[in-house]
Amino acid sequence: MDRETPHGLAGEDTRETPGSAGAGLPAPVLGKERTARPASELDAPLPSKRMVVNLGPSHPAMHGVTRAVVELDGEIITDMKLDIGFLHRGFEKSCENVTWTQCFPYTDRLNYVSSIMNNVGFALAVEKLCRLDVPERASYLRVITSEIHRICDHLTLVGAMGMELGAMTVFLYSIEARDMLWDRLAELCGARLTSNYARIGGVARDVPDGWIEKTTRTLDRVTALRDEIDGLLTRNRIFLDRTRGTGVVGREEAIELGFTGPCLRASGEPWDLRKAAPYLVYDRFEFDIPVGSNGDNLDRYLMRIEEMRQSDAILRQAFAQMGPGEIIVKDFRYALPPKPLVYGTIEGAMAHFKLVMEGIKVPAGEAYGYTEAANGELGFYVVSDGGGRPYKLGLRAPGWPMLAAIPHMSKGHLLSDLIPTYDSINMIGGEVEQ
C-alpha cells in the first residue's frame, strides 16, 4: 500500500482484512448493482425487494402535513410521489367571498413565518390594479417589515435544518433571534406570529417612539447570534457531509423547474426581483445578490446566511434614509378615514361605512403583482369585476415549484438525503397548500 488508507466510505477500500466482505474490491457504488462476484457463499448479496414507505403526513421532517410515498431499494430512493393538500384551507375561494381588505388576514396565514411579506405582496398587486401610489414613508415601512421577516424566515430555515440534522443548539439560537425580531414586530402591529401590517394604500400604523433605536439594538444581537449559528454549522463536519453534494439542481435545470428566490440563486442564476424589477424603494439601497455555484443543499443554506447579512444592511440603510411623512394614502376610496373625521363629519362617516360594508371598489381589470418573498417570487394574479370583492385571486406560492421538484432531486439518492433537501427548499405548508 503506497498511499494513505482513506477513511470513511469514499474512495477505494483497499484494506486487506482477512475475512472481511469485499476486501480489496472497489467500494460499493451507491445506487448501482454490485457486479463483482462474491468470494464465498457468505458474501453473497442478501435478497432484497423494493419497499414502499409512507413519509408523513404526520412526520416531524415533513414540515407541516405533506405526504411522501417513497419507494426504496435498500436505502436508495427509486421512486417518489408527493401528496399535498392536507393543509388546504381554500384560500382563493375564501378570498373571492370577502372584501379586498378582509383578504389580508388570509394572506398572513400563507407563509406564516414571514406574514408581512405576503401582506405587502397582496397590497402591491391590488394597488397595481388601482393604479395607486403609496406614500414614501409607507414604502420604507413596508421594506423594513419585509426585511425583518426575511431574516425571520431564513432563521427558521437554518434552525430547522440544523435541528433535523442533529444540531439542536442552532435551533435554539435561531429561534431566540427570531423571537426577538417578532417582539419588535409585535410592538408595531400587535401580533407575534400572524402579523398584519400592510393595507391597501399604505400601512396600518406608524412606528412607536424609540422603535428604530430598539430595533437597531435587536439587529445587533441577531447579528451576533447569526454569526454564532454560522460558526456552529458552516464548518461542522456532520453538517457538511449531510448537505454537500446532496439535492443538487443545476442552473438550467433550476430555471426549467421554475425555481425562484434563494434556491434559484444557489444554482447560480443571479435573479432577484428586488434588483430585476425594483418595487417599493429597493432601488435606493446598496445590497448584493449572493449567488451559489453548486446548487446543493449546502449552497442553499449558505445563501440564507448571506441573505440575512444583506437584509441587515438594507434595514440599517432604510432606518437612515426614512423621513417623516404620511403612512397611508389620503384617498378615502381606498383607506379608512381617521377616527376624528369618522365621528365628526358626515363625509368621514359615509366613507367609513362604504369601505367597511361594501369594500374597496377596485377598478375592473386584471393584474399580476409579484414580489421577492423570502423563498422566491410571490405572485398574486388579481381579477376584479369592479365590485367590492376579488373576482379571482390567484396565488403563485414561491415554494410550489420547489416542492414539485423534490422527487426529481431525490431519486437515486439516499433516503437520509431527503431530509436536508426538504429543509433547504423551505417548504411552508401554509402557502404551498393554500
Binding site: 393604479r131 425562484t260 399580476y368 373576482y391 403563485r396
Partner: protein, 174 residues
Amino acid sequence: MSKAAIAALVERFPDAVYDAYEGVGGDDCAFVRKDRILEVCRFLKDDPKLQMNLSPYVTAVDYLGQDPRFEVVYNLVSTRTNQRVRLRVKVPEADCRLPSVTSVWRGVDWFERYCLDMYGIHFDGHPDPRRLLMYDEFVGHPLRKDYPLKARQPLVPERRVDDIFRGPGPAGRD
C-alpha cells in the same frame, strides 16, 4: 421593454395571437388561440431575443356567464432579458381541454394539475394528470363560480391500507 416580445409574437403568429394590449402597470398581454398555445410557448422560450426561460405561473379564471367560459393565464418571465409577458387563452366549457406546456417547461406540472383540480380544465399530454390539492373522491371543482361556498361533500368510505399508493384496497387483510 417587453413591447418587443408581443410585437415579435404577433408578427410570427398573426393567426394565433390576437387582441394584444398593454395591461395595468405596463404588463404586456395577448390572447392566444388555445390549439396554438404549445407552439407559441415554444417560440417564446427558444427565440434568442425573448428567452422566456423561467417556468411560468399558470392559473385559470372562471368567467361564468361569458362564452367561452374559462380562461387559462400564463405569466411568463425571462431571467436573461428581464421581460414579462402574459398570455391569456380562452377555453370553452364544452371542450374544456388544451395542450399541456410541460414539454416546454417542466415546472408548470403542478400549476396545470391545479387548474385540473380547481377548474376541471384538462391538459393534453400532461405526464401525471391527477388532482393536486383535493382528494380523488372529491366531487366537482371548487373554484368554479357555480360551486357553492359551503357545499358539503359525500363521506368517503374508510380505506383499507392494503395498497399504500392508492386505496381502497381489496378486502381480506387485517
